[in-house]
Symmetry: C2
Subunit: 247 residues, 2 copies
């Protein structure tokens, strides 16, 4: 079946990042303009090759993240999403990408990174709808990443990763509304976030004001698994995207 001198085919590894944040109460993805071939000039997810043979994949993701966002490494949520390795996905050869999901509070305008001539926050909706074209299979990766975030919001405390260290319940609700692309009932939302013990805990006696009654401040609690979860409302058939439940 295989030669005596057969040796496995090497591949090149990249990390690609779906970096999500909220800007003006809407979900945005960070995209870069590709500075080199292939797909020069086209929008793409930030990412790049491993630096050297010993670099850990997660370290590479952190490195790319800080190159693109100039962010303190400890403060953002970063997790592996999936591998994309179809043989035809990169014209340069066999390039396998480990996609990561990164989530951060409202970020400043990005700085141009090493491989990018330009970087910008783009509304997630523009990527999902196909209005913005992406290089490689990056639209698929971005779509998977956004869907992953939407699901994880239901069962984990991920939403707090979109917030500053302390935040109001109204701000937290805006996170859910922006990521899910729905509107939520304030009263039920208050009830549910407080029923999930350990999700958020009061942050001192601090308050903040913007004209009306001052809001209580909270910070992320110790629990990462929400119980009961905050199930997102089923999209009402007329929505933007229908969840595929049929086989």
């Amino acid at each position: 079946m295989q030669d005596d001198v057969w040796s496995p085919p090497p591949v090149l590894l990249t990390v690609d990042l779906v970096i999500l944040t909220l800007r003006e109460s809407r979900l945005h993805v960070l995209l870069v303009e590709r500075g080199g071939d292939p797909f020069r000039g086209m929008a793409a997810l930030p990412g790049g090759f491993l630096n050297h043979d010993g670099e850990e994949i997660l370290d590479a993701a952190h490195r790319e993240l800080s190159e693109e966002t100039a962010l303190a490494a400890g403060w953002v949520h970063l997790e592996q999403l999936a591998v994309y390795g179809d043989s035809g996905r990169d014209p340069r050869g066999r390039v396998v990408s480990v996609a990561h999901l990164a989530i951060a509070p409202g970020l400043p305008d990005p700085v141009a990174g090493t491989d990018a001539t330009d970087a910008a926050w783009v509304p997630a909706q523009a990527v999902l709808s196909g209005e913005v074209e992406l290089a490689f299979d990056h639209r698929r990766i971005a779509t998977d990443g956004i869907e992953h975030a939407r699901t994880k919001l239901e069962f984990s405390a991920l939403a707090t990763a979109f917030c500053e260290e302390s935040f109001t319940i109204a701000e937290l609700q805006q996170v859910y509304e922006a990521v899910w692309g729905t509107e939520l009932d304030t009263r039920n939302f208050y009830r549910k976030v407080q029923a999930a013990k350990g999700f958020i805990i009061p942050a001192g006696t601090d308050r903040r004001t913007t004209g009306g009654r001052p809001a209580r401040l909270y910070r992320a609690g110790p629990k990462t698994v929400l119980f009961p979860p905050l199930i997102r409302p089923a999209p009402s058939a007329t929505e933007e995207n229908t969840r595929g439940e049929e086989e």
Copy 2:
């Protein structure tokens, strides 16, 4: 930052398989005995390198699966789990593994495959507990795979992948009990599987008998997403494994 002639470090890609099945109403994992170095003679997950540069990752997983189980490719559930690429995980160098989860109905005793001198079904519990030692980081991969299956049973129709084409509700309950490692209330289970419309549908007028009242037969329905889901009971603190909910 990088040389003019810098080029990205190549890595070797493997696929590893967490193959789950039910034997004697207990969850089992397929393990092989390694026939070559490193870890010669130690138990490991089935898997191997990509065959040639153009081979798709999923195809490689299917190939390894049929090499180990001699199974019709179309009948098993196979999905990507995650990537394991820590630089120290393989003494041969930088070997990155794409782990897959495979689930199949009760399988015959395995046939020895290409790289394996022996293969055997091992109770999942023996792997989770550490009673069986695995090569590389395969215990971690197997643990992640089992946990993935446990969670997916809650929200998807995955359980039917453990069953033959037609099955009884009692058999389906055994799947849940074996994978979760819990006992379930028969009456509530009947109610819940039937409340999840599209999960199972009656299979003709067929019945099967084993001494008592004949059972109705069902087959997998069109829905892959269960609503309402079948939430697994919270492990009661005294259980084998406690779910980490704290950070």
